[in-house]
Subunit: 297 residues, 2 copies
């Protein structure tokens, strides 16, 4: 976390930057440098930029919810990882995911006159569009790594195609996200290899973690009417599957692990049907904002 | 979180970097750029660099524990802040604190043949040397801001003097930390002003938060035999008080708030006497590492 760039009006340390008071009512500004910020998206919308269509907004909601829910899960590791270094790494991955979510949700919300906070804190469970993978509990460290291994390989394949979206905003968000997710991917790969090649106990846990998570892989690659209608603005999920299988399969082979032969779980997250795990996560996430709606903190 | 620098052997995104496998058995590397890393400190110790004296190590332990405990507290906000943007900001501040803690603890541990993880996960409550301020519960958002307001002003005054320490490692850690803490300070100031000048409810909470936290200010500035013995290697705590009072007083005056007139709490953190709040925090932080000691994750 070091200062970069040379913006005279914004002093920065790491990714935390404090905007000049006259520029914003907010106490903090996240400044991802040359990438599109949620604030830029909100500002463009306020200035009359073309709003996303209902379909594009719904699509952005799906991607944003995936990142939002995953970020909540990863945040818990900040006090519980097996190494301090790993505390920091998972914390950073969580914050990256939250950053992507903020951009996608801001863009989605601009179609409906809602802010990212409206969408994060004031929707009910059946209005969330995340896939079941992301709401799966942390479990032990190996389960978290298995979930991250699947999540980041899926997101990498998705975002590297979405940079070519005919929707410029989706393309810009993906262009920032793909670079970060590429490193999340490397991080998970190195842990899969390390756990699989470590002690008997760590290998046993890695195998168990992958078996627990793999039923949620299928849902990520299911096409539906929305992705069909969106055409070149989006990415057809099923087209990602071959590359996902090839890359993850090669890693598992290197780790001398089998691709888990487990039946797929029932999905439905993209239509708002969730597992029993999402409700408690949302309750914790939303309690403060709901306790004082519009409190102008 | 954007790539900076140009180190060919280490690809980077934000503060998460993945080291080349032959350089390290660890899956992740934190690369704070031109600043001293915990890994550098550990490596220097392994190569026979002069070890810190027992006094310097004990002093580093105090500073490291302050950051470690505060980081745990702040990590919980990742799923609970009143705004997504604030989730990210508090998460980043927590990760900064954890980064400082890792450096201080690595240096302290080098005197005793212990790693940062040994010190974080395998000490008992009475062996922690953090001041009581840092273990105070998050409370509502205003309490967290009050705690952060005190913590970051104290740390800023401390670190900006510690950069002149005759101990080169302490000076180098402080040189990195002071830049980050300066922005933590700005962040807390802007929130104090915003909450005090917001709604009746937010002002009421800010006043209550400061009243709850202020009893823990005194302990931060208490001198003892250790700081006396250390001389110019450390900073005498009482010498920070005047500047702390002047700067925080000016902010409170701008916010039209009184400096809380509350009696000081009983301290003792520097000698390992803690409040009832530290035990549960440590239990959560240490459970995984203790469940599988030496499991070579």
């Amino acid at each position: 976390m070091i200062p970069t760039g040379s913006q005279p009006s914004q002093a920065r340390v790491g990714s935390l930057a404090v905007g000049a008071p006259e520029q914003s009512a907010s106490a903090t500004r996240i400044t991802p440098g040359n990438a599109l910020r949620p604030e830029d998206i909100a500002l463009a919308a306020a200035r009359g930029a073309a709003k996303p269509s209902q379909d594009v907004a719904e699509y952005a909601l799906r991607l944003g919810d995936d990142g939002l829910i995953l970020a909540q899960r990863l945040g818990h590791w900040i006090s519980r990882a097996p190494e301090l270094e790993e505390d920091v790494a998972l914390g950073n991955i969580g914050l990256d995911q939250l950053g992507h979510a903020r951009s996608f949700l801001t863009y989605a919300g601009s179609a409906w006159g809602k802010t990212e906070d409206d969408l994060a804190y004031f929707r009910r469970e059946h209005e969330f569009r995340s896939a079941h993978l992301f709401e799966q509990p942390n479990g032990d460290f190996a389960v978290t790594i298995a979930r991250q291994f699947v999540a980041s390989h899926y997101q990498f394949e998705l975002y590297r195609r979405l940079v070519h979206s005919t929707d410029e905003t989706l393309a810009a968000i993906a262009a920032k996200a793909v670079k970060e997710v590429d490193y999340h991917r490397d991080h998970s790969v190195q842990w899969v290899l390390r756990l699989a090649g470590g002690t008997d106990e760590s290998r046993r846990r890695m195998i168990a973690g992958l078996a627990l998570i793999w039923p949620y892989v299928g849902e990520l690659f299911v096409d539906d009417a929305l992705t069909a209608r969106l055409g070149d603005a989006a990415v057809v999920p099923s087209t990602l599957r071959a590359d996902f299988d090839a890359v993850t399969g090669a890693v598992l082979a290197e780790a001398e692990l089998d691709v888990p032969a487990v039946p797929p779980a029932v999905g439905g997250g993209r239509e708002g049907r969730h597992s029993e795990h999402l409700g408690p996560l949302l309750a914790e996430m939303q309690v403060l904002a709901r306790e004082f709606p519009g409190a102008s903190w």
